[in-house]
């Protein structure tokens, strides 16, 4: 238990919130509601896991919200145009990967700082979705697409299954593969990684492609729920994805990645949101509660952290 708490300090606030909700509401602990929370958490955890790699690399991708919209538009308009649904879904993932590739190339080959590069693609990609649809909903009715959120293989809702697989893969990648270690190496000290002969550009591009694809999957999940795609979906999602990662404790300066933290961060955020709704909290108070809980949880984490000795070498990349 103490080991878990050390590696996943977020477990404590999560437990606190859950106990509080169990005591103050009679519906929080029902099976249906817990499934709600976990499905919602799974949906944001999936892109959160890719974003974890990006933050561990010391960079971040602001364009993911627009990718959500683009993926939905690509998938749904393809289905409308008669493309078989599975293929349409692959096309959406490819579109996400393409956005990631564009980000990666602009960041590495043109040397544009990631903040601006991905902010620019945020604007451009949403512009593309809007221009392509001319602001119209792309409405579908696809059982295949629906299976992504509605399917229950082995009795487990698909999003949860996907998130578990993604989480396991992410954990393995970060802790047991060269690629994962190299991502952390680049985040810890990019110049050192270059001097050590790591293929820094390719690592960075790969991470952006992963984030792009996860954005594509996120878009598919949203479009699966709503059975439509349009240029307005996914607005502001970039902050949601980054928030769960940061809440999970992956250092913003890069170099370290907490996969478990990200998953718990997603569960915590969604538990809070669900709880506020169960308590019928007026919208004005919802925001302030989320903000206060965020700050409190992180202040607690920061206070618990013993100050690390000043690293002898540290490069902040942004």
């Amino acid at each position: 238990m103490t080991g878990l708490l050390r590696r996943a300090p977020l477990a404590l606030p999560l437990l606190g919130v859950a106990v509080a909700l169990a005591l103050t509401t009679d519906s929080f602990l029902t099976g249906g509601n817990l499934e709600n929370v976990l499905v919602a958490a799974a949906i944001v955890a999936i892109p959160g896991l890719a974003m974890t790699l990006c933050l561990a690399m010391g960079e971040f991708d602001l364009s993911i919200g627009s990718t959500v919209s683009l993926a939905g538009v690509v998938c749904c308009s393809a289905i409308i145009d008669g493309v078989p649904a599975p293929l349409a879904m692959l096309l959406a993932l490819a579109a996400g990967a393409l956005v990631g590739l564009a980000n990666g190339l602009v960041v590495t080959k043109l040397g544009v700082t990631p903040f601006i590069a991905t902010l620019a693609t945020l604007v451009i990609v949403r512009g593309l979705s809007l221009a392509y649809t001319d602001g119209h909903d792309q409405i579908v009715s696809s059982a295949t697409l629906k299976y992504l959120v509605g399917g229950r293989p082995l009795g487990v809702p698909m999003p949860i299954l996907l998130a578990v697989v993604a989480g396991a893969l992410a954990w393995w990648t970060v802790n047991r593969t060269r690629f994962g270690r190299w991502v952390c190496a680049v985040g810890s000290h990019r110049e050192a990684a270059r001097v050590s002969g790591l293929p820094v550009d390719r690592i960075r591009i790969a991470v952006y492609v992963l984030v792009g694809m996860s954005g594509g999957l996120w878009g598919l999940l949203i479009s699966s729920q709503l059975q439509k795609g349009n240029g307005q979906l996914g607005l502001g999602f970039e902050l949601d994805a980054i928030t769960v990662v940061v809440l999970g404790g992956t250092a913003l300066l890069g170099g370290r990645a907490s996969v478990l933290g990200t998953v718990l961060g997603a569960v915590l955020i969604e538990t809070i949101r669900n709880g506020l709704n169960l308590l019928n909290t007026p919208p004005a108070y919802q925001r302030i509660s989320v903000g206060l809980l965020l700050v409190t949880a992180l202040a607690l984490l920061a206070l618990r952290r013993t100050p690390a000795p000043a690293p002898a070498v540290r490069e902040v990349t942004a």
Binding site: T25, S27, N33, A40, G150, L226, Q232, L235
Partner: protein
Amino acid sequence: TDPNAPKDDKVVVGFSVYDMQYEFFQKMEKGTREAVTAKGWEFKLHDEKSDENEMVTGAQALIDSGVDVLIISPFKPSALGPIIAKAKAKGVPVIVDDIGGGGAPYDAIVISDNSGGGKLAAEYMAKQIAANGKTGKNVASITCEPSAVYAARRNAGFKEAIEKAGFKVVAELSGNSKAEEGYKVMKDILAKNPDVAGVFACNDPMGVAAANAIKDAGKSPVKDIVAVGFNADPEALTAIKADGLAATVAQDPTAMGALTVKLAEQALNKTAITFDNAAEREVYNPVQLISKDNVDTVK
């Protein structure tokens, strides 16, 4: 008219639109533009892009560019003040389209009867619940972002009428006008109140999303939980036809656009306008309840 006549003679209408990303406003723009060009007048468009700063800057720029009359569908009605102040200084009449007037001295406002629309939704919901043979007395409401005054009116109209019909609004939560949030909020409502008999959403993206959540929970948004939206967006009409939504309240943005042009002409000619609500200088555009019974009559 003489094509060689000096340009000055031609009436120029400036139209500032809320956001051309939305079909609702695309239709409103179409109705306005067509009515303007039909009169042989010139049409100038500005897109506020859902931003109050852009709204003020752009509308003032239209006035600066010498329009004879300004029609505006304001992103933030409460930011109309500085625009109307400038218009007054230059003697340009202002007709507001939809959303709200924010208390500024515009010449007239064309507005859907939002409160009446909420009432229509409530009456339909009560009737349909009974027709479904349900006895539950609990309903829910999903609201737009807290700052949307027009949407608050819809909710207030709905609430008053549904309570009068003997129901109780057990959950009133915001989906911030967004489909994604409307879906999640509906899931939370279902978890807490599995027995709700109906749900009203302040716009169609949230309404259809809530209906999807109901379907994903294995229930019908027509027979089990009566889901009603607002707007008659194409997605709502499609859903109604497929039993994926019970009803919506239709506004007619194209007609509203045409109506604003008519009022603009009256204002230019200084002829008196007949108001539905003289105190607020409101001219109502009727709303209509659309369900499976009449969905085919909507174009």
